[in-house]
């Protein structure tokens, strides 16, 4: 019952004399109960609002992540020219994952091991001495499983010092290369779930895109 209703009730009793103390107390008690119930509903509404706002932010972030994955996938298959595909891989690593230090190793046609295909932000001398068959890189290539340096865990040393992640590049479950990510950009404290998703995507889509450039190159060499 609202304030106006209370006033009305009191006025109605006006003709029959003033309301007794018992009536006023009952009305007050009722108002207090209603007020408490309303406060409870307001709290519930506020909690709902907060939850929905949180969900909305989460959905917006998911949308942003999906955009990154869609864009990476789309860009990797835009060209059959090897240099353009490599440029796209460098752009994805720098602008979507957030690292300007990477090396990509690839199994050359007829070759037994991997050799460096492209790199970014790493000294040539250091790159020359990294042997894809040794260390973390070698293990990734042999096992076909990605490696991510655990936060606060044991980090690779020696030539692979600063390695943040390494993913095998696979075509039909066959390892045809490896992508090693070293230092992250200063503003990044570590790899996030979207970065790991992008790395997974690169493991298959970049491998397939590069494999297609190989096929395209071979097709060009076939005499017509």
């Amino acid at each position: 019952m609202g304030r106006a209703a209370t006033t009305r009730a009191v006025r109605q009793r006006g003709g029959r004399g003033t309301p007794g103390n018992g009536t006023v107390r009952a009305l007050l008690a009722r108002h207090r109960r209603e007020l408490a119930a309303l406060r409870g509903r307001v709290s519930e509404a506020e909690a709902d609002n907060e939850r929905l706002a949180g969900q909305s932010i989460e959905n917006e972030q998911k949308l942003g992540n999906l955009m990154s994955l869609f864009l990476a996938s789309q860009r990797l298959h835009e060209s059959l020219e090897r240099e353009r595909v490599l440029q796209v891989i460098r752009e994805i690593v720098a602008n979507l994952i957030g690292s300007e230090e990477m090396a990509l190793f690839w199994r050359q046609e007829g070759g037994t091991g991997l050799s460096l295909l492209t790199s970014m932000g790493l000294e040539a001398r250091r790159l020359e001495s990294i042997r894809p068959e040794d260390g973390v890189l070698g293990e990734v290539v042999r096992s076909g499983r990605p490696y991510v340096t655990p936060p606060g865990g044991v980090v690779p040393t020696g030539l692979e010092a600063g390695l943040t992640a390494c993913v095998p590049l696979k075509v039909e479950d066959r390892v045809v290369g490896a992508l090693a990510i070293f230092g992250l950009l200063q503003q990044k404290s570590g790899l996030e779930s979207i970065d790991l998703d992008l790395l997974k995507l690169l493991a298959t889509q970049a491998a397939m895109a590069l494999y297609c450039t190989d096929l395209n190159e071979r097709a060009r060499l076939v005499p017509r």
Binding site: I57, E60, Q61, L63, G64, M67, S68, F70, L71, A72, R75, V88, E91, I92, A94, N95, L96, I97, G98, E100, L185, Q186, Q187, K188
Partner: protein, 124 residues
């Protein structure tokens, strides 16, 4: 009817331009692009955008120089410029503000951060 605001996106990486375009898709803005420093200045003067998202490391002229040149031109002196860069080190942020930018965004670009900064500088 109010005029749609226009945003100039400047970056030499096609991936970044496409990402920024995707983020702005569905928002009430028209978008024009440039891929290097010279093109950025030409587009800024020709298109008169309401806001510029400017990369730092680019061919021909870097973002700092582009920012200084746009600030010295009467037509673009007050256009909000947001530097977008992989280089988030304090000295770069400082250099950005010294060159006349209004805000600084680090890559990888966070969709929500980008949209909120754009809205805040465009007022709505």
């Amino acid at each position: 009817m109010t005029r749609r605001k226009k945003i100039l996106l400047v970056d030499d990486a096609e991936t970044v331009l496409l990402m920024e375009r995707m983020i702005l898709q569905g928002e009430p803005y028209d978008v024009v692009t440039a891929r290097d420093g010279d093109e950025a200045i030409a587009q800024a003067l020709a298109e008169r955008p309401d806001l510029i998202l400017l990369d730092i490391v680019m061919p021909k002229k870097d973002g700092f120089e582009v920012c200084r040149l746009l600030r010295s031109h009467a037509d673009t002196r007050h256009t909000p410029i947001l530097l977008v860069s992989t280089r988030g080190e304090p000295q770069n942020v400082e250099a950005g503000f010294a060159s006349g930018c209004n805000d600084f965004i680090t890559k990888p670009v966070d969709r929500l951060v980008l949209l909120s900064k754009i809205r805040s500088h465009l007022g709505g």
